[in-house]
């Protein structure tokens, strides 16, 4: 076993802050939706709004980080080895087979993750963010203190926003479960906390030999 540094400080900060905000937004959002009752409608609306601003700020920083560090390349979808990856999760994992793809600082994601996270970042988050911003500004106050009402019907915005929220929750469930499929059930989570992940030596040796070549 060897410890490999995979997640830099900002990435870990971004990941956990985003996770917390999204879970809090889901909690308050589903209270606004009328599904649950925790803070009371008024506080739920207020908290939802404040945390949405926080998430927008975080996303702005994250986009900057992805671009400047070149980390965005991790999320380019690929079909290479994707069959192997699906086969691994459907059968191989039960037989105790090895992960078909390597994990290292340069390539953090397996092909399945690449596709799912790409969808998450390019479709799901924009869907929720855009509908959320439009929802927030459904009524706005202009320079003359006149209240302006958006042309886009609120029910369409609300339905799309809620749809995104449902997808996010199911993403969260599967995502959390998938963290247990690392070397040990907790090694992925530990990596996201400390930045270091334990990876089997054999693979390292292979990598080394490949590098030497």
């Amino acid at each position: 076993m060897k410890k490999v540094f995979i997640y830099p400080k900002f990435e870990r900060f971004w990941h956990w802050t985003q996770a917390t905000l999204i879970m809090f937004l889901a909690l308050t959002g589903f209270e606004v939706h009328g599904s649950i009752s925790v803070f009371g409608f008024e506080q739920a609306v207020r908290f939802h709004r404040i945390s949405s601003y926080a998430l927008l700020l975080l996303i702005a920083f994250a986009i900057f980080w992805h671009i400047t560090t070149g980390e965005w390349r991790n999320y380019i979808p690929t079909t290479k080895k994707i069959k192997d990856q699906i086969k691994y999760y459907t059968t191989g994992i039960f037989k105790g087979e090895k992960h078909p793809t390597d994990k290292n600082e340069l390539s953090k994601l397996n092909p399945l993750q690449k596709i799912v996270y790409f969808g998450f970042k390019v479709v799901l988050i924009p869907l929720v963010v855009v509908t959320g911003i439009l929802y927030m500004n459904y009524k706005s106050i202009d320079e003359n203190n006149i209240i302006v009402i958006s042309e886009i019907p609120l029910d369409i915005l609300a339905i799309l926003h809620t749809f995104g929220a449902f997808l996010l929750i199911s993403f969260l469930i599967v995502h959390v479960y998938m963290t247990t499929t690392g070397e040990t059930p907790t090694s992925n989570i530990k990596a996201m906390i400390t930045g270091y992940e334990e990876i089997e030596e054999e693979i390292d040796k292979q990598n080394k030999s490949e590098n030497e070549k």
């Binding site: 939706h33 599904s35 709004r49 106050i141 203190n145 029910d155 809620t162 749809f163 449902f166 599967v174």
Partner: protein, 530 residues
């Protein structure tokens, strides 16, 4: 060591800063303070009428008083004679009717039905003298009643069934010498007692407002701003601002909360943005009839029961009539939650002679919808009941109710609907087929008074709720967050989450099962070796 000290100091400073940022307390509302300072100033009375030589005499008739008023206030009577208080009608444009005159002369209600034929009694609330039939001379300035609005002595009162003349015991000299700006008592004489008793019609206007707590009415509360009606219902040349849609029809000359408070009165912009679609009253009048009950229903069809040939009454524990042989059965309610409708300031009315289009008959129709930019959600009192109509002609009947003596076809004396209908309809010049029945009716009374304290105003979740008891549960045409949702989406969404959970559970269970089996197997093999 040093490092932890610095961190501790930093954290302490951070906590202190956060406390300051998040615990600012309620900021002072300077706009409100300015308004309060403006309205708390007592009225300065510039003249003392009691010293005027013109008023040092005994007046033989109330018309004498009016003539004396006009001798100094030379053109005021012309202003009055253009007002709805005098004419009992306004010229209005109503969709479907065109330009038309509407008012107490020709509009019916579902309380005492209509004034036509009953002027002798109904003219108690006309600002004139001698209206005892439909021949009243609206051009005669001598009959303008200045005193009913301007008496500040609380001495003046109109008599019962005296065609608008004052009670015989009123000391006209005293009244004439103590005139001034209208007080709550003046407006209240009619507007508190309309419908024949305190708080019968409005629900939000009643005698209790003369000495109310600010919990009852934040503006008129005696222990609060103690404002009078004319502070908001200001007048220019005797044309008073404000509309009541039991008789009004047009979206003009209305009195709005915004006139003083502006359209963005809250510190919170989420609340401010509500004001484009929600009238102030909707949140700030959580209930009406806070002190005394108001009439919610009036069933004329049950009138006419007699005991030993005599009319009788049944009172409830509050002393209100529950049943009167002359008028039928009533339902009273106290602390009533308003109903809510979309309203754009335009209304139509059931006018004498209109055919019945729907049941219940809408005595007044308030126009408005979510998509209409002029419409807002407003609170209303809905008064229901049934009343007499002509079965063949399909029109509501104006019955003759009042007469001095029996044998004059008046229902209140003779208890014969047939005769009352015939006499009443003849008087208003409409046909009567001879066949009457009773039809359900409905009337809307926008609720504008009894504004609650800030603490008692309607809370978010009273409307933003999926509960069927939500205040806006039945209001349609728009998406209300917290109340509305797509059941299809909710079903798909829940299914999606459920499938994710199920998938994860099954996948995880298989893994756990295999690991356990493997462990058992290795334990077995170890045991076998041993």
């Amino acid at each position: 060591m040093n490092k932890s000290l610095i961190i501790t100091i930093f954290l302490v400073i951070l906590v202190l800063v956060m406390i300051n940022v998040f615990h600012t307390g309620e900021p002072e509302n300077l706009n409100l303070l300015k308004l309060k300072q403006e309205y708390v100033q007592p009225d300065v009375v510039s003249v003392d009428h009691s010293t005027f030589p013109e008023l040092q005499k005994t007046f033989n008739s109330p018309q004498d008083v009016t003539e004396t008023c006009i001798s100094c206030h030379t053109e005021r009577h012309t202003e009055i004679m253009e007002s709805a208080h005098w004419n009992w009608e306004r010229v209005a444009y109503v969709e479907g009717r065109g330009i038309t005159k509407l008012g107490k002369k020709n509009v019916l209600n579902n309380f005492c039905i209509g004034a036509s034929g009953n002027e002798q009694s109904c003219a108690k609330c006309h600002i004139g003298f001698g209206m005892n039939n439909d021949q009243f001379d609206f051009e005669n300035a001598r009959n303008v009643d200045c005193m009913v609005c301007h008496d500040n002595s609380e001495e003046y009162m109109k008599g019962s069934a005296t065609a608008g003349y004052p009670d015989r015991n009123v000391n006209l000299t005293k009244v004439a010498q103590s005139v001034g700006s209208p007080q709550k008592e003046n407006c209240g004489f009619c507007h508190f007692n309309s419908g024949g008793g305190n708080n019968v019609k409005h629900g939000d206007l009643e005698q209790a407002l003369l000495a109310a707590d600010r919990e009852v009415d934040i503006h008129m509360g005696a222990n609060g701003m103690d404002m009078s009606c004319v502070d908001c219902h200001t007048a220019e040349n005797h044309q008073i601002k404000g509309r009541l849609y039991s008789v009004s029809s047009e979206n003009t000359n209305r009195a709005f909360c915004e006139d003083c408070h502006g359209n963005l009165p809250h510190f919170d912009n989420i609340l401010n943005r509500h004001t484009s679609k929600v009238a102030c009253q909707t949140c700030h009048i959580p209930e009406y009839a806070k002190v005394n009950a108001t009439k919610m229903a009036w069933y004329w069809s049950e009138a006419g029961n007699l005991k030993d040939g005599e009319p009788y009454s049944i009172d409830n524990e509050d002393g209100n009539h529950e049943y009167l042989s002359t008028k039928g059965r009533f339902v009273w309610e106290k602390n009533v939650k308003p109903d809510y409708v979309w309203f754009n300031g335009k209304a139509d009315h059931y006018v004498l002679g209109d055919s019945i289009k729907s049941i219940p008959v809408e005595m007044n129709t308030l126009y408005g919808s979510h998509d209409d930019p002029d419409s807002k959600i407003v609170p209303v009192k809905i008064h229901v009941g049934d009343q007499i109509y002509d079965k063949k002609n399909n029109i509501l009947i104006q019955p003759k109710l009042f007469a001095e003596e029996a044998g004059d076809s008046a229902y209140w004396k003779d208890f014969d609907w047939g005769l009352a209908a015939e006499a009443g309809m003849e008087r208003v010049g409409l046909p009567y087929s001879g066949e009457y029945g009773f039809v359900k009716t409905k009337m809307y009374w926008p609720v504008n008074h009894m504004v609650a304290t800030k603490e008692n105003s309607v809370q978010c979740a009273e409307c933003h709720t999926q509960s069927e008891d939500g205040r806006l549960a039945s209001l349609e045409g728009f998406y209300l967050p917290g109340r509305d949702h797509s059941s299809v989406l909710d079903f798909i969404g829940r299914l999606d989450v459920l499938l994710a959970l199920l998938g994860v559970f099954i996948h995880g269970s298989i893994r756990v099962f295999l690991v356990l089996r493997k462990r058992k197997y290795s334990v077995q093999t170890i045991n076998e070796k041993v």
